[in-house]
């Protein structure tokens, strides 16, 4: 059985860019372990030769033809951004 510790919660939070106070890490680890433990009950079922189920309904992936049907809506695309200049999104400088 997998076990989530405090450090793992902190790591997942950082990767997801979610700020979690130190005193919340331990309780969260407990909650996550409960969820995982609950799901792990499924391991009692023998799933040899059973394909992973991608959907509960019997549908296939829908394909589209290669046509330009969208775009040309810069104002809508930029509308919700806090800042944009010359048609670009303007974000705090990312330096690597």
């Amino acid at each position: 059985m997998s076990h989530i510790d405090k450090a793992t919660v902190a790591k997942i939070a950082r990767l997801s860019r979610i700020k979690i106070e130190d005193d919340k890490l331990e309780p969260l680890a407990g909650e996550l372990n409960n969820i995982l433990g609950w799901v792990e009950q499924l391991e009692e079922v023998n799933t040899d030769n059973v394909l992973p189920m991608a959907s509960v309904v019997d549908v296939k992936l829908r394909w589209r033809t290669d046509e330009v049907t969208d775009g040309g809506k810069r104002d809508s695309v930029l509308k919700n951004s806090p800042n944009h200049e010359y048609g670009f999104f303007a974000v705090p400088k990312v330096i690597e």
């Binding site: 290669d66 330009v68 049907t69 775009g71 809508s76 010359y86």
Partner: protein, 494 residues
């Protein structure tokens, strides 16, 4: 072929694998209906799907699937009739979704092979582990404003094929040859335009070093190389860095690095603290990608003759040398030009294809390439078309002009874009094959040179060259050399 990095304590060999990102040639994006054309104004080719607005759902572009299958077939790869799209999670300003839709566990194309021609008939097979479909990210510009990074999402969501090689490459030259060959195949089948300077094709290079007989060393990945020259240089520089590091007692850390061609060095790109952890999982917005054998066979039916097959045919059926055939097939545009030229020449001269194939190849790789190189042009913007080239060569074949005159005619054609027949007519370069006319000239020359005639008859056979030269001079090079030789000898020997 081996490439050895000489260290202070011994020799190291290099182990290299490549990931090539090739933009699929399609009108619209992988999961949305916005355009993919290069060079549009920022954020004008962005749909709400590409901008990752809440509630937007991806729908796959059939053409991108078809092109990935064709690419797999072109390298003899396994095609997976069922593949799965996964989310690769990371944060970056030009990735609005916060994840890239890619294929992790079940890619659309499985193992295949790319065969490299290393010269002198030597070939080397490089394994391709897989090809998968994924979305491109947007473009960030860091140098336009002191406080801001500008982001353009036009590329966001454009379909890429990631072509992952096995770590089979052992020299920088093999890496360059591999990228060249993959680009050639992509261009032949038209699944990617292969333009590295426009970013439609770029390479990530994985480099490690080891002493002979040792297991693989730790590798570093050099990201986003946009020319074949940089692929070669970055491998040389990175291998040297790793050898120096190991010999100084250090250890190579697995990381992503950036190649700086100006400084000729590689630099660490991401901090160790943010070690890559993409947390892949199947994208719940997309069902598995499935198709049947009929879809694969329909894709296979549209494949053109590929470079390796074309090269073999040129050698076996047309009698070209392996080297010449290799030069001709390397770029699709060249091979196409040659085949149009040859067909037109066969039609115009009514000669057998094999008998004129070498002549056409020599003219193309010698005269035309030479002139194009000198003028800084490519085959795409040649002033002399394949049809015009065939007309010129046909004039040699039917004896209208000599090979020497043809070079003169070609120069005028290249400068003016005029047809061969027109140039010959205008400049009065038509070869003289009229025996009566040539005979009269020969008689005159023999009469004017009694000394040379006496010496020739006295046993100096080689003087026949002198007489031929005089005849050619008298006719301005227009006399048919075959006719001259045939008429001259009996008269001298008489």
């Amino acid at each position: 072929m081996t490439y050895i990095v000489h260290g202070a304590t011994g020799d190291f060999e290099i182990v290299v694998g490549l990931e090539i990102h090739a933009q699929v040639s399609s009108n619209s994006k992988l999961f949305s209906g916005s355009a993919t054309a290069f060079g549009a104004d920022p954020n004008t080719q962005v749909s709400l799907v590409d901008a990752a607005m809440p509630g937007m759902l991806p729908t796959i572009n059939a053409e991108c699937v078809r092109q990935a299958v064709r690419t797999g077939l072109a390298i003899g790869a396994v095609i997976n009739k069922r593949s799965v799209f996964d989310r690769k999670n990371y944060f970056y300003a030009d990735l609005p979704q916060g994840y890239q839709i890619s294929q992790f566990k079940d890619p659309i194309v499985g193992p295949g092979v790319v065969t490299l021609d290393m010269g002198d008939g030597v070939t080397k097979d490089i394994g391709v582990e897989r090809i998968h479909l994924e979305q491109d990210a947007g473009k960030s510009m860091h140098d336009q404003h002191p406080q801001y990074t500008y982001v353009d999402l036009n590329r966001s969501g454009v379909a890429l094929m990631e072509i992952v090689s096995d770590p089979d490459i052992r020299t920088p030259e093999e890496a360059a040859a591999y990228v060249t060959k993959v680009r050639s195949i992509l261009r032949y089948i038209g699944s990617c335009d292969g333009n590295m300077d426009q970013g439609s094709m770029r390479a990530d290079v994985n480099v490690s070093v080891r002493r002979a007989g040792e297991p693989y060393g730790t590798r570093c990945e050099i990201k986003n190389l946009n020319s074949i020259k940089f692929v070669r240089q970055s491998i040389e520089v990175e291998a040297r860095r790793q050898v120096d590091l190991i010999e100084d007692g250090g250890t190579v850390v697995q990381e992503t690095r950036l190649f700086d061609p100006v400084k000729g060095e590689t630099r660490s790109l991401r901090s160790k603290e943010d070690a890559q952890d993409y947390r892949y999982f199947p994208d719940p917005d997309l069902l598995p990608l499935e198709f049947d054998d009929a879809f694969i066979e329909a894709a296979r039916a549209t494949l053109p003759e590929l470079p390796d097959a074309k090269r073999t045919r040129f050698v076996e059926e047309l009698g070209l040398s392996d080297y010449t055939a290799g030069v001709l097939v390397a770029e699709k545009a060249q091979a196409d030009f040659y085949e149009v030229l040859l067909d037109a020449l066969v039609t115009a001269s009514k000669k057998d294809m094999a008998s004129v194939a070498s002549k056409a190849a020599n003219w193309l790789t010698g005269d035309l390439y030479g002139a194009l190189n000198k003028a800084g042009k490519s085959i795409a913007d040649t002033p002399v078309s394949a049809g015009q080239g065939a007309e010129l060569l046909a004039l040699i074949e039917d004896g209208t002009i000599s090979g020497r005159i043809a070079k003169e005619v070609f120069e005028v054609m290249f400068e003016t874009g005029k047809g061969a027949g027109v140039v010959v007519e205008e400049k009065g370069l038509k070869q003289v094959s009229d025996t009566g006319e040539i005979e009269a000239i020969i008689d005159g020359i023999i009469e004017a040179n009694p000394n040379q005639l006496a010496q020739y008859r006295g046993g100096k056979d080689k003087l026949i060259g002198f007489f031929v030269g005089q005849v050619m001079k008298a006719t301005g090079g227009k006399a048919n050399p075959g006719v001259v030789n045939k008429l001259l000898k009996p008269k001298l020997d008489a």
